[in-house]
Symmetry: C2
Subunit: 176 residues, 2 copies
């Protein structure tokens, strides 16, 4: 039977744990030989969205472009893992509508926790006014209303988060 593809879209604040979950999930799926692509922030910025900024318009164009590529891959049976803050609900829903096979994962930790982690030192710089339009500080984040999965990374272990996603994928019929 032909492999059914799916876009697994991780949304959440900077520092919420999107990349960590993405990497762990990718490893699990690779071990089981699922056709896989990971579109994380750096790959996307370098190859698809160079020159875009952080206005709502540019953020939306960024997400739309990632969504376009996800759609191409998903309809050819690929599992596409996207890790993107993607703060606006409407554009996430637009992408979901286009792709169809779309699993939204809300990677959720309270802002205070993300800021305390501050792995990349970005919150500090945003608080100091050195970075403008920083999601959670001076730019909005609209949480998903009905995500397929929510990972509370301040309350659960990485394994739990990954297993919740795998379980949902299985429930939805994407796993063999």
């Amino acid at each position: 039977m032909k492999q059914r593809g799916v876009t697994i879209w991780l949304t959440g604040l900077s520092g919420a744990g999107k990349s960590t979950i993405t990497e762990a999930l990718a490893q699990k799926l690779r071990e089981q030989d699922y056709p896989l692509e990971v579109l994380d922030g750096d790959v996307v910025r370098t190859n698809l969205t160079k020159g875009l900024g952080f206005s709502k318009e540019d953020r939306d164009e960024n997400i739309r472009r990632i969504g376009f590529v996800c759609n191409l891959l998903t309809r050819h049976g690929v599992f596409v893992l996207v890790s993107a803050i993607s703060p606006y609900r409407e554009i996430r829903e637009e992408v979901r509508g286009k792709i169809g096979d779309f699993v939204e994962v809300f990677v959720n930790a309270p802002l205070a926790v993300c800021e305390q982690r501050d792995v990349k030192g970005l919150y500090k710089r945003a608080r100091a006014g050195e970075i403008k339009s920083f999601t959670g500080i001076d730019d909005p984040y609209e949480p998903p209303l009905n995500p397929e999965v929510e990972c509370r990374t301040d309350l659960e272990e990485l394994d739990e988060s990954v297993n919740k996603i795998l379980h949902k994928l299985d429930q939805l019929g994407y796993l063999r």
Copy 2:
């Protein structure tokens, strides 16, 4: 056996016949159930490269971005048909190097023939100075030195062009 993907890259002047060949080739491949995507000019401009212009830098970024998407699809077994003027040799070679499974089709008709066809009225506008940086008029076109296929659309019928490409794909082991 797993389907082997390939990027089939049609380069040539505006009006040389790239889109016509692409459509006819796509139909043939679809009839035989090959997994297929067509990245033609409009699709690409709308979804991947909005905002890019016609400077060498922007043209190169345009081609690099298309190449990135081709690479993702090709390595998952998809036949990707690209129709793009792509006037610069170096960036075409860069994309070829990244993708590996890459068949370059030089869609070749003399400038005078393309200009006489002028399907979209673009040459007329370029000659009148209404469009700047128009390939073949006031912007260069660097023909491929060793394309896998050359289609002389002023000398051969559409069927011949399409069959030459199919024959080459077969020779290279991409067809079942």
